[in-house]
């Protein structure tokens, strides 16, 4: 059952104003040790938009997010995020860039040795000149946003998976970044926790007008969150469109992905020459 987006929020929510491009990626190529992971990827995200990135494991979704934060260096192509050309930033400018981009890691990546309060507070102390009292208020406000104000004095090890993810979300939001990147926010969550996280993401997009890129494997959650979706396969965007367009999309690879079929064009690799040659050795095939 696909929940229509309207059910996530009340009917009176304002529709976001979709504005100028916040992320512009052109012909992006990223290689690891000679293996091209992204192969000429194009992407555009506008202000206030929520873009969902779908794709199989290893299709390069995380690599794409890492390229947007400047953590991986492209071998070709351009990446413009919030007006700066990410690959050309020096380390000092990259520091300033990353403060403007919130990142939710797949497993939360909370600082294990710090309490929930400290996890958020240390980021604020680092980047703002606020007093301890002001920081404390802000920390509680952000935790309230994810419904976890009562957990402020707990340690990460004392939290459940869903709570950890929500604390991580509060931490990613603590500097009010204009752009949020979510790497599989639903991974490892039960349906209720997933719905909770989805609702927060939707709230941020719809009400606060935040620009978001969400990488996810949960089709239902993708279709209800997205203003627009792209489907990544072998390092390029092979399909893109609105949730409605995706439901009826003709691309056989996308169809297999959305239907969750075990056999189909996505896993048929026998036609690729390099597969056979690397399996049996070039000489044998001659």
């Amino acid at each position: 059952m696909v929940t229509p987006r309207s059910s996530l929020l009340s009917e009176s929510d304002p529709t976001p104003v979709v504005g100028e491009p916040v992320v512009e990626v052109r012909e992006l190529e990223v290689s690891f040790g000679g293996r091209r992971v992204l192969r000429g990827l194009d992407l555009e995200v506008r202000r206030g938009e929520t873009l969902v990135v779908l794709g199989g494991s290893g299709s390069g979704k995380s690599t794409l997010l890492n390229a947007l934060t400047g953590s991986v260096t492209p071998s070709r192509g351009t990446i413009r995020v919030l007006g700066s050309s990410v690959a050309e930033l020096d380390l000092a400018r990259l520091d300033a860039h990353r403060v403007k981009v919130g990142f939710l890691f797949q497993n939360g990546a909370l600082f294990q040795s710090m309490s929930v309060r400290e996890n958020l507070a240390c980021v604020l102390r680092e980047h703002t000149a606020l007093t301890a009292e002001e920081i404390d208020i802000l920390v509680k406000m952000k935790l309230e946003l994810v419904g976890l104000r009562h957990a402020v004095d707990l340690m990460p090890a004392e939290l459940s998976g869903g709570m950890r993810k929500r604390v991580a979300l509060a931490r990613a939001l603590v500097l009010d970044p204009p752009l949020m990147l979510y790497d599989e926010p639903g991974a490892g969550l039960d349906p209720v926790s997933l719905a909770g996280v989805d609702r927060i993401i939707a709230t941020l997009g719809r009400i606060l007008g935040m620009t978001s890129i969400v990488v996810t494997h949960h089709i239902e959650s993708a279709l209800r969150l997205a203003d627009r979706l792209v489907f990544l396969h072998e390092g390029t965007v092979v399909a893109s469109g609105s949730p409605e367009e995706f439901r009826t999309h003709g691309d056989p690879r996308l169809r297999q992905f959305l239907d969750g079929a075990a056999e189909g064009p996505l896993n048929d690799r026998s036609g690729r020459e390099d597969y056979a040659t690397s399996l049996l050795g070039k000489e044998r095939l001659r």
Partner: protein
């Protein structure tokens, strides 16, 4: 142009869903590969240490903003000094005793047992105390740093720091390096006392020497250069232990198993590095003093 057998085989592997990696690395000579790898490793190690020192430079000289957190330095000094004290007391006290016992037999045979204090003192200060402090630190601090940083790497914590523009070399490595730089000479100095004290206990209890005389003789045999060399060694060994542990921890891949491997590697490599550095330093200062 695939023969039918290849196609069939290929199809049977389809479920793996993964193209086997290219084998270029294997065709390369093993020794060249290993040499290049170890050079790259040394380069990475040096880069991290260099970055940590960058963050220790005055803020005005740096383009990147941010300070090394002072509270973290205090924490690390505490960890590397008070933390290692019990183990250090046992190890150095006992080795001082062992050394005195071993020497006593020979020196009595030669009829020069009164040289015991000076030999124990020089051996302790110039060699044994710094070396044992290094070994104790690699087992104590090195292993715990490698596993601590390794699990941060595995759980993406290190990347989380970066995502908030908090460089791990500033926030985590620099305090550990400064911490060990402060703690190592203190601990080594304590090691002098503990080792010499061990020798003194044996000399008094078994050889019936006068403790006042023992101390006088020890002090007469030692000069400032010996003490400085010993402290320098302790400092170098401490920095090696922490930086190698950081290096091993921060490049962990492969989950909990990888963390375990990194911990072992950190201890083994820092012990080897300590002994190599010891040889080098001893050689450099051979003629002095």
């Amino acid at each position: 142009m695939t023969p039918p057998t290849a196609a069939r085989l290929a199809l049977s592997f389809k479920e793996c869903g993964r193209t086997p990696d290219k084998r270029e690395e294997l065709s390369e000579g093993v020794s060249t590969g290993m040499f290049r790898k170890s050079m790259v490793s040394v380069g990475d190690w040096g880069t991290s240490v260099g970055r940590a020192f960058y963050w220790l430079a005055p803020a005005g000289l740096r383009r990147r903003r941010g300070a090394v957190p002072a509270f973290a330095i205090v924490e690390q000094v505490d960890r590397f000094s008070i933390g290692v004290l019990p183990l250090l007391t046992v190890v150095l006290g006992f080795v001082g005793m062992i050394l005195a016992l071993q020497l006593a037999t020979i020196l009595e045979l030669l009829g020069v047992v009164e040289f015991l204090p000076s030999i124990v003192g020089i051996a302790m200060v110039r060699e044994m105390a710094p070396l044992l402090v290094g070994v104790v630190l690699s087992g104590f601090a090195g292993a715990s740093i490698a596993s601590e940083i390794g699990s941060m790497k595995v759980s993406d914590e290190l990347r989380a720091y970066e995502s908030f523009s908090i460089a791990p070399t500033r926030y985590l490595l620099a305090p550990r390096l400064v911490g060990i730089a402060i703690a190592a000479p203190i601990v080594t100095g304590l090691g002098f006392y503990l080792g010499i004290g061990g020798g003194l206990v044996i000399a008094e209890a078994i050889l019936g020497m006068d403790s006042g005389q023992y101390i006088t003789r020890t002090l007469a045999a030692l000069d400032l250069q010996d003490v400085l060399l010993g402290l320098l060694k302790g400092e170098v060994f401490g920095l090696l232990v922490v930086s190698i542990a950081w290096f091993e921890g921060s490049r962990v891949t492969g989950g909990a198993l990888g963390v375990g491997r990194a911990t072992t590697a950190a201890v083994v490599k820092s012990v080897v590095a300590i002994i190599a550095a010891d040889l080098l330093l001893t050689f450099l200062f051979f003629r002095i003093g």
